[in-house]
Symmetry: C2
Subunit: 443 residues, 2 copies
Amino acid sequence: MAASSSERTNVAIIGMGTVGAGVAQLLIDHGDRTARHAGKTIWLSKAVVRDMKKPRGIDLPEGVLTDSIDDVLNDPSIDVVIQLMGGLSPARETMLRAMEAGKDIVTANKALLAEHGGELFTRARELGRSIAFEAAVAGGIPIIANVSQCLSANQILSLEGILNGTSNFIVSQMDEKGVGYEETVKVAQDLGYAEADPAMDVDGTDAAQKLAILSHLAFGATVDWRDIPRSGIDGLDPDDLSYAGQLGYRIKLLATARLVDGELELSVGPTLVRKGTPMAEVRDAFNAIRVVGDAVGPVFYHGLGAGQMPTASAVVADVIDMAVGRTPITFQTLEYFSKDRPARAVQRDASKLRGRYYLRFRVANHPGTLAAITGALAEHSISISSVIQHEDSSADSGVIDGSTVPLVIMTHEATEGAASGAVTAIESLDVVEGNVVRMPVRG
Amino acid sequence: MAASSSERTNVAIIGMGTVGAGVAQLLIDHGDRTARHAGKTIWLSKAVVRDMKKPRGIDLPEGVLTDSIDDVLNDPSIDVVIQLMGGLSPARETMLRAMEAGKDIVTANKALLAEHGGELFTRARELGRSIAFEAAVAGGIPIIANVSQCLSANQILSLEGILNGTSNFIVSQMDEKGVGYEETVKVAQDLGYAEADPAMDVDGTDAAQKLAILSHLAFGATVDWRDIPRSGIDGLDPDDLSYAGQLGYRIKLLATARLVDGELELSVGPTLVRKGTPMAEVRDAFNAIRVVGDAVGPVFYHGLGAGQMPTASAVVADVIDMAVGRTPITFQTLEYFSKDRPARAVQRDASKLRGRYYLRFRVANHPGTLAAITGALAEHSISISSVIQHEDSSADSGVIDGSTVPLVIMTHEATEGAASGAVTAIESLDVVEGNVVRMPVRG
Ligand SMILES: NC(=O)c1ccc[n+]([C@@H]2O[C@H](COP(=O)([O-])OP(=O)(O)OC[C@H]3O[C@@H](n4cnc5c(N)ncnc54)[C@H](OP(=O)(O)O)[C@@H]3O)[C@@H](O)[C@H]2O)c1
Ligand SMILES: NC(=O)c1ccc[n+]([C@@H]2O[C@H](COP(=O)([O-])OP(=O)(O)OC[C@H]3O[C@@H](n4cnc5c(N)ncnc54)[C@H](OP(=O)(O)O)[C@@H]3O)[C@@H](O)[C@H]2O)c1
C-alpha cells in the first residue's frame, strides 16, 4: 500500500472547495504532466464532499464524487489522501483515520499543522506514513521544499517574509490609493482577496502560524504560534504609510525569524521596509520570502501565496513527490516535530529583540514638548536618527495653543525592552495625547 | 555501491579550485548538517588535485589529498564523485570513467553539460548511475530542483533570467556610474567578478549554455546552445543605458525561453526591462529567474549566481539528495536528454520572434531624415511608440549641416523578421551613419 510501490498511484481528495476543485482539475486534465514527473499514472479515485448537489465547477468522472469518507478509508487501493478540508475538526480526526487506514497525506491546512503538527507527524511516523504540506505556507512559492531540501547545506541565519496575501493586498492598496483601512477591506472583499471575516488574515494569526511552521523547518525550533509576538494591519493608519514613505520606507506585514547569539528572534507585525529593496516592492496579493543562509547568502522568492491554481500547483507537486517516492525519504529523514530530536534553537525573550523603531506621537503644540520626548528616549539610551515635525508650527517654536500635532521619530538601534520602556514613559507625559504608534524598521 | 545503501556515503572531490575548496569546507566543518539532512554521515574520502603543493586554503585530514584520480576510481567504498574540474577535457572522460567505476556524479560544470549532456546522461542511465547538477545553473538559486520538482504540476509558459553574474555586475556598474564598458570590465576584474578573459561571460555564451540546459528541463526541448540567437554586453554603449533610462527601462543581459503557439522562442541578449519590475532591479553579480507556470503563475527567484560558497551550497545540497536517495529517483524518472522521450517543444524560427524594439541611429542633422526612417519602418509594418531626438536641433528642424545626431525609436510589437528587414533598409539610407543599435524590450 506504500504510495510508490504500484504502477499507478490512486489518490482521493477530501474537501472539494476552492483548492480541491483546482487539484481535481490538474489531475484530470493534465495526467500527462503528473505521469511524466511521477513515472506512473496518478489517478483520482474519489472526491469527498458534504453536499453532493453543490456545483463544483468541474466535471468529475462517474463514481468519483462521494459524500462518504469511508468510501476512501475502506478502499485499500487508495494510496494518498489529499486533505483539503479547512479548520481543525473534523480535519484532524479525518487525517488520523486516513493514516491509520494506511494512506499518506498531502494537505494545505496550515492552521491544522500549526495547532496539531506535533501529534500528526508523530502518529505518521509511528504508522510508517508521510505527510506533505507544501501548500500550507506561501501557496505557489515552494518554500517548504526549498528550506528543507534545496538549502540543506546551510545554517539558515534569517528568514523573513510577507506570508499573508490578504494583508499585503490591503496595505499595498492603502499605500497606493491613500485610502483608509475599513474602506480598503471592503474593496479586498469585493475582489475576492479577503474573506467575509478576514480576522485571522489581518490580525497576524495566519502569518504567525506559517512562521511557526517555517521556524521548525529552518531552525529546528518548536514554537507555539501563540508565543510569537504579533500585531496585525487591522487599524493601520494611512498617515503612518505616508510618514514612512517620506522617510523612504513602505509598511509591510512582515514575519521574521532571525538567529541571534544562537537564539531565535520571532515576530509578526507591520514593519517599515526600505523602498527599492525587493521586499518593499511586493504588491497586491503576492507573497515573498527572503532566506539568508551562511553559505548561499540571500535567496529571495516571490509568487502568489494563495488562490485556487497556485495552491493546487503546490498540492499536485506534493502528490507527485509522494507517488514517486521522494516525500517518504524526506519525511522519514528529517523527522519533523520529533521529540527525539533536540531543539536546535530556542525562542529568544522578546524584550531582547534589537532593532530600529518608528514612533508616532500626537503631542501638544507648545514649547518643551520635543525636549520632554527626546529626554525620555535618552533616559532609555535610545538615540534618534530622524524626526518629522509635520506642521509649520513646531512644538518647540514658541507658539502656545491647545492643539496637538503629529510627531514622528525614527530611532537608532535599541532593544525591544528599552523601546517599550520609553514608550510607556512617553505615553504618561502630559504633552502626549493617546497612544504611541510603534513599528520596527528594517534595512 | 549504490549511493544510498550504506550507513555512510563516501564522496570524493575532483578539482579543488574555488568551488572544490568551498565544498570541502562545508563537508568537513559542517558534517552535522549533512548528516541531519541525509540521515547518515557524508564523508570526504579523497580530494584530487593536479598540484599537491598548491595551497588550497583549507586543512584536509591526512590522506585525503591526492593527485591520482585512480585513487578514487579504484576505491569501491567511494559512492559519489563531485566533479569540479572546469572545461570539457579531461572533465568528460573523467566523468565517464567515474560512472563506469560505479560512482554517481555531482557536478557544477555547465559547459560540459551544455556540450556533452546527451552523451553523459545516456551513459549514466545505461550504467544505472545518476547525475546531479544544481550548481551548473544560477549557482545559489536552486532553479534545477524548482523547475524539475517543485513546479512539476505546471506547463511552464516562459522562463527568463539574468543568468550571468559577471555581465550583470558590469551592466549595473555602467548604469549606476555612467562609465564605459572597457573601464568597467577592469573594475570587475579587480574585484574578482570577472576572469582575466571574460569572453564567455560577456558575449552571451555562458548564459546561452545555461538557457539550453533550463530549456530542456522546463520545456523538454533539446537545443544546441549555439542555435540560440545571442548577443553579449561586450561593446554596450553607455549612451544606450542612458536613453533606456529616459524611456523608463534598464538594460539587462536577459536569457529568455517562451512557448508561443507550441514552439519555443529562445534568445540571449541585452534587453530593455521596465524599471520597478523585480528583474530590472537585479544589481551587482546577482542572478534572477522568473518562471511562469500555467497553474502557479509567476514565480521569481533572486540570489547569488556564482562565488565559492553559494555554488558550494548547491553542490552539497546535491550530494545530500544523492546520499539520501532523492536524486536517483528524480534522475531515473525524468530521463533527461533521453532519445526515447520525444521533444515536447521545438525551437521557433528566430525570424518569427515577436516583440517591441529599441532602435538607435546616428542620423544626418538635416530635413527629411526622420521622414526617411519612419517611412522605412512603416514599409515593414512597424509602428512607433516613442522617439527621443536628443539634440535641440532636430533632424527635421530645417537646420542643414554635415553633423550627425542620435535618434532613438521605441517600436510597438513587430516580428524579428520585420525588424531586421527594416534595420537593413535603414542602414542603407544616406541619412544614416554606421550601424543601427537594436535591442528587444520587455514589460
Ligand atoms: N484557498 C486558498 O487560496 C488556500 C491557500 C493555501 C491553503 N489553503 C488551505 O486549504 C484548505 C482548503 O481551502 P479552500 O479555500 O479550498 O476551502 P473551501 O473553499 O472552504 O473548501 C473546503 C471544502 O472542505 C469541505 N468539507 C468541510 N468539512 C467537510 C467534511 N466534514 N467532509 C467533507 N468535506 C468537508 C467543504 O465541503 P462542501 O463544499 O460540501 O461544504 C469544502 O468543499 C484550508 O485548510 C485552507 O487554509 C487555502
Ligand atoms: N566559481 C564559481 O563561482 C562557479 C559557479 C558555478 C559553476 N562553476 C563551475 O564549477 C567548476 C569549477 O569551477 P572553479 O571556479 O572551482 O574552477 P577553478 O578554481 O579553476 O578550479 C578548477 C580545479 O580543477 C582542477 N583540475 C583541472 N584539471 C584537473 C585534472 N586533470 N585533474 C585534477 N584536477 C584538475 C584544478 O586543479 P589545480 O588547482 O591543481 O590546477 C583546479 O583546482 C567549473 O566547471 C565552473 O564552470 C563555478
